[in-house]
Amino acid sequence: MSAVPYTARSAKPNGWWGMVVFVATEVTLFATLVGSYYDLRFKTPRWPPPGVPDPKLALPLILMAALVATSIPVQLAVGFSRRAQARGAQLALLTAMAVQVAYLAVQIHLFADDLSHFRPQGSAYGSIYFTLLGVVHLHVVVGILLEAWFVVRLFGGMTRYRRVGIEATAFYWHTVNVLAVAVTLVVLSPSL
């Protein structure tokens, strides 16, 4: 038996593919949530219902832009990790995290502020509004935790495993950003 010649890697690694399929289920989850939003909306004469204020536009749109901008440092971290530059990758991830944590803090404040005006128990509008936003925020938390993990691990230098992990995390973040844009536009749609 003769051995087949061994070549350098040309396909994406297993870990990256795992994240892609996982993200596919997440996108489907958001699609069903957005679908439910419109199902409820089209069966309601007034949306939002009487007594519930229309969503405010300015701050959520600015926050959305800030979150989308973090895709740039996340992608830079991928570039650094391909060149085995652990410090650069750490710095890029920390930059992204700083913006994302600030984003999350303001969003939590907005969430609490909305709760003081209307409640998820009051109407189907409130239920789907808070559920959609809550699910997005949860995904941002997961993304921040993933980045924090790699920032800590990179103190031990770059390995193949960490490089694949950062590439997968970047894919996750790009998708979460797209989903955050979609959800923001959906929940703001009554005011647009």
């Binding site: 038996m1 003769s2 051995a3 087949v4 010649p5 061994y6 070549t7 350098a8 890697r9 040309s10 396909a11 994406k12 690694p13 297993n14 593919w17 795992g18 399929v21 996982f22 596919a24 289920t25 997440e26 489907t28 989850l29 699609a31 069903t32 949530l33 439910s36 199902d39 409820l40 069966k43 309601t44 219902p49 998820p120 128990q121 009051g122 109407s123 189907a124 509008y125 409130g126 239920s127 789907i128 559920t131 935790l145 993990w149 390995t159 193949r160 495993y161 960490r162």
Partner: protein, 608 residues
């Protein structure tokens, strides 16, 4: 020896070997088949005569719901994707393990936790009692105030975690770990079915999860998704449920079609005809499955235009199904068929699939569906499909791969006898249900009046159910006896075409000492001269996704105790959610994150 498994109980608890995990899946889902079977027999005993008092109405509802939930979520899915998929996928691909061995262990332990979680409700006499599709408003706390429905919602979210992890693993393994040379057009047909199932799971489970989260938020926190008085929509539940529920039907039936495409060529002594068409038909069944959900809702008052669209879409499923039926039949017809037990079960499968398929086409006729919906005619139809068509190939597959797993032969005479008993039992149990259904007997009712003329048919059905149970017991008695007394089988007793028959029986922990290369979908019939030598450590080669060219050799993670620990913590988390201890649940969630960190602390390259 290239590598060995840790011996003893600890070895099984920490294993990442796909064959051991496959066997764990097998025995666990077999146990749940037994539980679901006992529930079915209890229901049939209650229905044997009019006005029977074997089960109270409450218990009947619980048995009926648990029978459906068990057979779908705790038997067929884990048996096909977990047991058959796990055990056979790497062997058929020529790989040494799954792409994510520890995730694989986690999905098994989560499945076990979810199963125990759901069955705890039976022992607390608060089992789910709203039917497997649990329509609103009956599922709300107004009409079902106990924990019954909470067990259902949380239990199904829990099994969904396990199943999603398993599906991701199967997809990535299929994409990346095919033996060098196994481009997609050389992949065994059974693996196309498994791939189609996994994609269906990845896209079908999220609507169910969304729905269950909505319901649990409504039950526990008073949200208003389904309450029409507060702007909610009762039909939203049905849309989201069937957006999952119909792909689910094909998730159940597709592995059976895949097993048929493995058994038929072996016992017909020829390759499957129309190979690319059959592969595409398997994928197409899964794809069309996402566009037909509203045919479960023809009686809900949807606009007629919607009904017609979904009726037409439903008729399309006939095309890929029929392509496959003719491909199976012509392969047998053009070959030299040897009707041993596995092929007999496939014959039974085709017969039952055609009967169930023909009654299925009737439901695409909207007025017929509206007349027969919620009657036993529906029960008859879907049991021909999800028992007759989906389970018969599983039973045939048990005989077919038994020598591979154990290294021993089953008893052929008993196996053929068990087929006939099971086949007759199936027809006798389910065929009369068509008749009582057309006579107006409704589903989900714990008893019936003596004067409606349903008594004889019901008694025959009950007798059939016990015959069927005897048939199943004969199968498992045969396998249990043969496990210890069967004649040694050697590596390849049937001269099968695919790669699992090229290694010893049972396969060694590393599956293949050298990785085979492939130039045909039937590499055991058309072997190549080359092979890939891989190092002696815990390594496996990966391939490019489309063409299956050798790409790189990766280290595989070693065995680990973290998956079972994480699954235990997740189980406790669900118990806390069930009992409304939100803060304790949050603590368990944080604990789970710490365990995930510990799990990943040592990277595969650093492990011995």
């Amino acid at each position: 020896m290239i590598w060995e498994e840790r011996p003893g109980v600890l070895g099984w608890l920490t294993t990442v070997d796909h064959k051991r995990i496959g066997l764990l899946y097998f025995f666990t889902s077999l146990f749940f088949l037994g539980a679901g079977g006992v529930e079915a027999l209890l229901m049939r005993t209650q229905l044997a005569q009019p006005n029977n008092k074997v089960l109270s109405p409450e218990t009947y509802n619980q048995m009926m719901t648990m029978h459906g939930v068990t057979m779908i979520f705790l038997f067929v899915i884990p048996m096909t994707t977990g047991a058959f998929g796990n055990y056979l996928l790497p062997l058929m691909l020529g790989a040494r393990d799954m792409a994510f061995p520890r995730l694989n262990a986690l999905s098994y332990w989560l499945f076990l936790g979810a199963g125990l979680f759901l069955y705890a409700s039976v022992f607390m006499h608060t089992a789910p009692d709203c039917g497997w599709f649990c329509y609103t408003p009956l599922n709300t706390s107004t009409y079902d105030p106990g924990l019954n429905v909470d067990f259902y919602t949380l239990g199904l979210i829990f099994t969904g975690l396990s199943t999603t992890a398993g599906a991701i693993n199967i997809i990535v393994t299929t994409f990346k770990l095919r033996a060098p040379g196994m481009s997609f057009n050389r992949m065994p047909l059974m693996l196309f079915a498994l791939l189609a199932v996994s994609f269906s799971l990845v896209f079908a489970l999220p609507p169910l999860t969304t729905n269950l989260v909505f319901l649990e938020l409504q039950r526990k926190l008073g949200f208003q998704f389904f309450d029409v008085a507060n702007g909610g929509d009762a039909l939203l539940w049905q849309h989201l449920f069937w957006l999952f529920g119909h792909p689910e039907v094909y998730i159940i039936i597709l592995p059976a079609m895949g097993i048929a495409t493995s058994i038929i060529p072996t016992f017909s002594r020829r390759k499957m005809i129309a190979f690319p068409l059959v592969a595409l038909a398997e994928l197409l069944v899964a794809f069309i499955g996402f566009g037909v959900w509203a045919h479960h809702m023809f009686a809900t008052g949807l606009p007629i235009g919607v009904l017609v669209f979904f009726a037409a879409a439903s008729m399309m499923v006939v095309i890929p199904s029929t392509i496959q039926i003719y491909a199976w039949l012509f392969t047998v017809n053009l070959g030299k068929p040897d009707f041993r037990a596995p092929l007999l079960f496939i014959g039974g499968f085709i017969a039952l699939f055609v009967i169930g398929g023909l009654s299925g086409i009737m439901f695409a006729a909207i007025p017929f569906d509206q007349a027969t919906t919620d009657t036993y005619f529906v029960v008859a139809h879907f049991h021909f499909i999800i028992f007759g068509a989906a389970v018969f190939p599983i039973l045939g597959g048990l005989y077919y791969w038994f020598p591979k797993v154990t290294g021993r032969m089953y008893h052929e005479g008993w196996a053929q006898a068990s087929f006939w008993v099971t086949f007759v039992g199936t027809i006798v149990t389910f065929f009369p249900m068509h008749l009582v259904g057309l006579d107006g007997m409704t589903r989900r009712v714990y008893t019936y009046h003596s004067g409606y003329g349903w008594s004889t048919s019901n008694l025959i059905e009950t007798i059939g159910a016990f015959v069927l149970a005897v048939g199943l017991l004969m199968i498992f008695a045969n396998l249990a006896w043969s496990r210890f007394r069967g004649a040694p089988s050697g590596p390849d007793p049937f001269y099968g075409g695919t790669l699992e028959w090229t290694t010893s029986s049972p396969p060694p922990p590393y599956n293949f000492a050298v990785i085979p290369t492939v130039s045909s979908p039937y590499p055991n019939w058309e072997p190549t001269e080359t092979a890939v030598e891989v190092g002696e450590s815990h390594e496996t080669p990966t391939s490019t996704v489309r063409d299956g060219l050798l790409d790189e050799v990766v280290h595989m993670p070693s065995e680990s105790g973290w998956p079972i620990v994480l699954a235990a913590v997740v189980s406790l988390l669900f118990v806390m959610l069930l009992t409304s201890h939100i803060y304790v649940a949050a603590i368990f969630a944080c604990l789970g994150l710490l365990i995930v960190a510990a799990w990943h602390w040592h990277e595969p390259e650093q492990q011995a």
